[in-house]
Amino acid sequence: MNIWSCAGRERFLVRSWSGEEGVVYDKLSGDTHLLEPLALELLQRLGTGAPRSARALLDDLGNLLEDAGSGSALAAIEQGLESMRRAGLVVASAA
């Protein structure tokens, strides 16, 4: 199981107008990313809280996700985290 953390709390500039999607500027890489709502939520939670597993993030988000009890919600979180890991926004470490 992976424990996920934000790649650097002071490293990102975030703008969101809709409150759902967001644009994130990575000061280290110089890249700008467009994040889907779930990914933005995950990044912001990891940016302000302790590192945690995808399951723990699912528990945190339970009240926001309509299908939080289903496997698809966890899969979506894992997919979002993996996508952000490839972009250098979050880091995974073995539990």
């Binding site: 500039l13 703008r15 107008w17 000061k27 110089g30 700008t32 467009l34």
Partner: protein, 305 residues
């Protein structure tokens, strides 16, 4: 003094000697060429623009000169030079004016990093500007060319220059580049519009330049504040429809269409964010210029400052 006030032989002489300094606010370009037809095109397209004295400072020194060799007698070519250095491959000499235009665009995009430079058309009405960033083929230049025939002020059809400190957008009000079917579309829409003769077989197809409105050139030193970011798309026969476009996606389009967003780092991110803050972000699908002009008229009337 304006280009139009220079006698044609004096214009040609300055051009041959590299003494034609064209004011393209906020820049000045020194032009040199031995291609005779270029003086006519410059006179037709830049007549309302000011010229500086030959000794003045120029931001860019550009030249389009005929290539030497026997080939010049049967298939003449010309080459673009920047600061006396050959830049880009030679092209047929009849493409000299488009070459100057493309070369000037490159000069600004590659060097004017005091601005956030965005590949976008910018037009203004009533103190509010519409910024239209879009890839080639979206109908951006055609739409821009049509709207400036209907009272919108031209800032640029290619390069929006965002001052990151003031948030104001500068343009050079240079000629609008029309390609292929757009040439006939603008001729039909505005028969009185002045264009260069179409130049066929360029890398962009057939190209003609459209003379900027005199009223736009006379206000070329006035920047404008953006009120709308509009992403146009042309679809034959489609009714004109504005639809909301997410600000985050508009942001990404601006960043992608910028020539130097990456260079500016966090400052570019913040400046782009402020630009998006102040604008309504819209998609605009259209299939005809009359309808499009009416739709933009309603847009300008419906959103008070």
């Amino acid at each position: 003094m304006k280009v139009a006030q220079l006698p044609r032989d004096e214009l040609a002489r300055r051009l041959r000697r590299g003494e034609l300094l064209l004011e393209l606010p906020p820049f000045v370009a020194r032009l040199r060429s031995d291609v005779a037809s270029l003086a006519r095109d410059i006179a037709d397209m830049y007549g309302e623009f000011a010229v500086s004295s030959p000794e003045a400072f120029a931001d860019f020194s550009v030249e389009v000169s005929r290539e030497p060799g026997l080939r010049r007698w049967y298939k003449p070519q010309a080459r673009f030079y920047y600061d006396d250095q050959p830049s880009f491959a030679p092209l047929p000499a009849e493409q000299a004016f488009p070459m100057i235009e493309w070369g000037l665009n490159w000069c600004v995009a590659a060097h004017a990093h005091q601005y956030l430079t965005i590949h976008a058309a910018v037009i203004e009405r009533g103190g509010r500007a519409a910024v239209m960033p879009a890839p080639p083929g979206s109908g951006k230049s055609t739409l821009c060319a049509g709207l400036i025939q209907r009272g919108w002020r031209l800032l640029s059809d290619e390069l929006a220059l965002l001052d990151m400190d003031t948030g104001l957008i500068h343009g050079m009000a240079r000629p609008v580049s029309l390609k292929n079917a757009s040439i006939a579309a603008i001729r039909d829409f505005a028969p009185e519009a002045v264009m260069t003769p179409p130049v066929p077989d360029t890398v962009k197809g057939t190209v003609a330049l459209l003379q900027p409105p005199g009223a736009s050139v006379r206000r070329v030193r006035e920047p404008a504040r953006a009120a709308w970011i509009v992403l146009p798309s042309y679809e034959r026969g489609a009714p004109p429809v504005f639809s909301p476009h997410g600000k985050e996606r508009a942001f990404m389009t601006l960043a992608e269409q910028s020539f130097n967003y990456d260079m500016h780092g966090a400052r570019g991110f913040e400046a782009t964010g402020r630009l998006v803050d102040q604008c309504d972000c819209l998609r605009f699908n259209y299939g005809g210029l009359d309808d499009a002009a009416a739709a933009f008229e309603r847009l300008a009337a419906a959103s008070p400052p």
